[in-house]
């Protein structure tokens, strides 16, 4: 039996577009289930904020479904490109808004409050701490500068007196080691 789970992205978009509001619940749900993680990651990559990324998911998916229902998506087979386009446009708007907020903050010296992102502890933190401690110093510094300090390979290279290419190699190798360690029985609970 053919279900929405077996449908292509284009078929799902077509099903949403062909029916009125509320008549294509299963297709809308599957479209959301499929695209929400992609939009969230896009938001996280560009905004570096879990809450902002989750807000982006809501806004992008709402607009996508509305446009589909209104017959305003020209090529439903290219729905992925459409969702990416909406995401890009909304992130650009968000960045512009953040820039204005930052300028206001600088002008009026509103103190910063630091709140840890909601999704912080998705991995086993104790195990990750042990795995991180197993890395060589240089590798550990590179991954922390990348993921915590959000430095590019060029920035890290300047900070550690290395080359951009070398930092990329170290980073890739260190991430591989961390992932292997996170699933290794040897490290234990």
């Amino acid at each position: 039996m053919h279900t929405v789970i077996d449908s292509s992205d284009g078929d799902l978009a077509r099903a949403v577009a062909a029916r009125g509001p509320g008549e294509s619940g299963a297709a809308e749900s599957e479209l959301y289930r499929r695209f929400a993680p992609r939009v969230r990651l896009y938001g996280l990559r560009h905004l570096r904020d879990e809450d902002a990324a989750l807000d982006l998911v809501q806004q992008v998916m709402l607009m996508t479904i509305e446009k589909l229902r209104g017959g305003l998506v020209r090529d439903v087979d290219q729905i992925a490109s459409f969702v990416l386009g909406v995401s890009r446009s909304m992130v650009k708007d968000q960045k512009r808004l953040d820039w204005r907020r930052e300028k206001l903050r600088e002008a009026f010296m509103v103190p910063d409050t630091v709140v840890a992102p909601a999704g912080d502890m998705m991995l086993d933190a104790d195990r990750l701490e042990r795995c991180l401690a197993r890395l060589a110093e240089r590798d550990r510094m590179v991954v922390l500068l990348t993921f915590y300090a959000e430095r590019t390979a060029g920035d890290v290279a300047r900070e550690l007196g290395s080359t951009e290419g070398n930092v990329r190699v170290i980073r890739h190798r260190a991430v591989d080691r961390l992932r292997a360690c996170m699933t290794s029985a040897e490290v234990g609970q």
Binding site: M122, L123, A125, T146, E159, R168, V175
Partner: protein, 187 residues
């Protein structure tokens, strides 16, 4: 029909993408177009993102051991990590302790790093018993301090003890750059 990805993006490219090392332009556009059309590669990117989020969370809790850069320390303090720092010149003995509210204990070791690219830090306990060893630690740019960090939670479990720290350059010369002593008092 949902199918497995036939043209998966290489892990190295996904990592570059996440670390903002793909320049704006065709490569970045191509990766994002692919990710929005591909659940498999999205899931792999999610694995990298989760690892990054987990690492950042550890640092924000002060759960980081080893050598950290000045820029990292500044950022941690800005993020609310409570850092207690002890500054040591070569030959100096400094009493140290951990206090309630501390997240991270840092020893700032001063030395002349002008002619070295990398160093080794050896930490020994009473009667020379090995405590920690860090090899091939890069020395970033013009710098006169090396920061050795230990989570406060770890230090709280340590008995009172004398720690001897020895910094030496790596490579053929292996010249000693400084010896320092921390007199740790257990809480």
């Amino acid at each position: 029909m949902m199918q497995r990805c036939q043209t998966p993006i290489a892990d190295a490219i996904l990592l570059d993408y996440w670390a903002r090392d793909l320049p704006d332009g065709s490569d970045l556009d191509r990766v994002e177009e692919h990710l929005f059309a591909c659940g498999d590669c999205t899931a792999r990117l999610d694995g990298i993102a989760a690892l990054g989020t987990g690492l950042a969370a550890l640092v924000r809790q002060g759960r980081v051991s080893g050598i950290v850069s000045r820029a990292m320390l500044n950022r941690m303090q800005r993020d609310g990590v409570h850092v207690r720092m002890y500054s040591l010149a070569p030959g100096e003995t400094v009493p140290c302790a951990v206090f309630p509210g501390d997240d991270l204990i840092v020893a700032a070791l001063r030395a002349d790093f002008s002619s070295v690219d990398a160093v080794a830090l050896s930490v020994t306990g009473s009667e020379g018993s090995p405590f920690r060893q860090y090899d091939n630690v890069p020395i970033p740019g013009p710098n006169d301090e090396l920061f050795w960090a230990t989570p406060a939670a770890v230090v709280r479990e340590m008995p009172s003890m004398r720690l001897q720290l020895t910094l030496s350059s790596t490579g053929a010369a292996q010249e000693e750059l400084g010896r320092y002593v921390l007199e740790h008092s257990a809480p």
